[in-house]
Symmetry: D3
Subunit: 147 residues, 6 copies
Amino acid sequence: MALRKDRCMGRLAILLLFSDDSTEHLAKLEQSNWKGCTGKVGSMDSQKIVAAIETAAKKNGIIQPNVYRESHALYHAIIEALHGVTRGQVQLGSVLRTVGLSFAVLRGNPYDNEQEGDWIAVSLYGTIGAPVKGSEHETIGLGINHI
Amino acid sequence: MALRKDRCMGRLAILLLFSDDSTEHLAKLEQSNWKGCTGKVGSMDSQKIVAAIETAAKKNGIIQPNVYRESHALYHAIIEALHGVTRGQVQLGSVLRTVGLSFAVLRGNPYDNEQEGDWIAVSLYGTIGAPVKGSEHETIGLGINHI
Amino acid sequence: MALRKDRCMGRLAILLLFSDDSTEHLAKLEQSNWKGCTGKVGSMDSQKIVAAIETAAKKNGIIQPNVYRESHALYHAIIEALHGVTRGQVQLGSVLRTVGLSFAVLRGNPYDNEQEGDWIAVSLYGTIGAPVKGSEHETIGLGINHI
Amino acid sequence: MALRKDRCMGRLAILLLFSDDSTEHLAKLEQSNWKGCTGKVGSMDSQKIVAAIETAAKKNGIIQPNVYRESHALYHAIIEALHGVTRGQVQLGSVLRTVGLSFAVLRGNPYDNEQEGDWIAVSLYGTIGAPVKGSEHETIGLGINHI
Amino acid sequence: MALRKDRCMGRLAILLLFSDDSTEHLAKLEQSNWKGCTGKVGSMDSQKIVAAIETAAKKNGIIQPNVYRESHALYHAIIEALHGVTRGQVQLGSVLRTVGLSFAVLRGNPYDNEQEGDWIAVSLYGTIGAPVKGSEHETIGLGINHI
Amino acid sequence: MALRKDRCMGRLAILLLFSDDSTEHLAKLEQSNWKGCTGKVGSMDSQKIVAAIETAAKKNGIIQPNVYRESHALYHAIIEALHGVTRGQVQLGSVLRTVGLSFAVLRGNPYDNEQEGDWIAVSLYGTIGAPVKGSEHETIGLGINHI
């Protein structure tokens, strides 16, 4: 039932955000039986962050759009990742701050046991701060859920 | 006032946790004018996580133990990182879960502008789950504060 | 000072939401010295949920509109019920989700002791999910306050 | 993809708590392809609430104890239900309050679409208040998750 | 229905904490139809803060101990005041911090309208910080509720 | 490292809000080596509260507008003060409530030790309630940060 060291999907989803060439990086992950996608979104509106990630995951076939359990799993992984980014209140514009984020979604089984089935990881990395250029610091978030 | 790309301390603090040889990795960071330390802590008791990081940072001279503003900066960075790890309530044992974490603390100036002075980053990476071996998934957190 | 089993107002307020004929159901409750009202509201805007319940309670004479202590008691009962519905952040549209809710407000004394005076219960039941038909699951909330 | 009216598992899980004869009530639910269990737990220690529900669900075969994804699904449903009960901070003794709760766990597919697979509902109903007999009011919580 | 300027009970409850001679100060407030008490409590255990205030309010006859609605009103005022003190998570020792607080409880009607009846204010003022002398800064909280 | 009794900046920042003549009061504080400013803001929009305080602090030279660490320190002090005002969720209009607040910002060193450098206090006092005249009670908040 243990996590396989070479299949730590949270670590992989973060490294994907840090890579210089995410296309090539993703191609390698796909060879190891992961499905994934990446994207960028900047907004003071938390709703748009959620929408951008959901849209990318559906467009790239990471989740099946017409099966609610898959959207539900992804949604909670996104909100959990946003907790890391916002650290206290899942709010952006309403407390006068904005984010510029890269995101990745990764799907596969990180466990030894096949019965564990697919899990989904959402990673976020970028900056958070005042809506003034340069008045910002880095921020990171990771959400993991069974799917 | 912008973040210097090669001095993104949050990214560096996370990569330090992912490195195979953190001693060597830290040595390189010190050559780039960062001060840092790493450690490990596992507990159901959130208090012990905070204490382990504070102790390591003081022992390794990352912060001055007798200047409260430095402890205050570190403390808030730790709590912010714990938000990413716990995603909702900064609670572990009281909601029957436990963590096994690596942590890193990094200190330096990530900005172009010298006036920005020192900032501190606390990164956390490991697993969170039930107090049963294998019943856990990965978790990550990052807190950044001026010091 | 104990709760009277036949006067558990939280239970009654929930059953009122589940009943097929809430008008008849309310009529019976009124014979047992409860005042109450029911309604429906669907929105991505949490403000509208609060407003719909407050308006219904005032229009139906459950609270006195010109006595602030009564509005104050109702307001806190509503927010507490919304905690059960939202489970973490009292936010809907800002985290890209919507609700379709039935609500009930019930007023009376659930305790043996007459000195306990009136209490107010707000119950909520319905669905929460993505703003896409069918992408939702059930949700419930109950807030109880002295009035 | 819609919820089937006769299969609203949240509503069913709450009604199970309100029934006079939960054994008979459960037997009927099992005839409609639900798996379920009920129990009681009273404590100032939130950890014990979580443990009691997890233990009952495993003992009664509602979830497979050796498959982490099932424990993970149940755990999050429990914590979501506790949000309804605690309304703000998932804390009991640490803010000097105690609960006496009935709980139910129900598993099955509430949707028309077979692809939605199994979902799990955790319902909680009882009293919350000061650790003084009678100084308490009712409280309710519901958590629903895909499994 | 407006607040009477000379009867702003929150302001009065805070000034009571700042006064050099709280006994004399309280005596004056009692001449203006307020009931009140003050005290001190220091702890890493949030439960003890709640208990100390409840005990003082009951001992000094600010609330009737055998009427639950009065304890309920006081309890929520205390928790609201603790939000100001803790600013995020109502936790002390579990996140390795401690408080040294003065508290005041004040009861009376701050409104023009007699129908508003009695309200209760809980004010807290002191220091919060690491369990190390001097590693602390000031903190304040105010909770107001109808009773 | 202890707080100097005559330099408790949180207490001073609150008293500034209570004073009848804040201009004269501020002048005295400036003679004791504090920098400060005061203002008023009323809104259902939490973003406007944050903006009003930031603007006042920059216009009055309390913080340097082009040094991010100073804005960062002020921002977190504001959000902490808002926790005291909102007591649970840092939300106003989205939960149908509004505030009318006086604010003060104070900067200086409250500690014996010169090495502690400057700290910043943000104090808030006013009313919170429904967007209906008179349906409101007092509220207070204090945030303190190193700068």
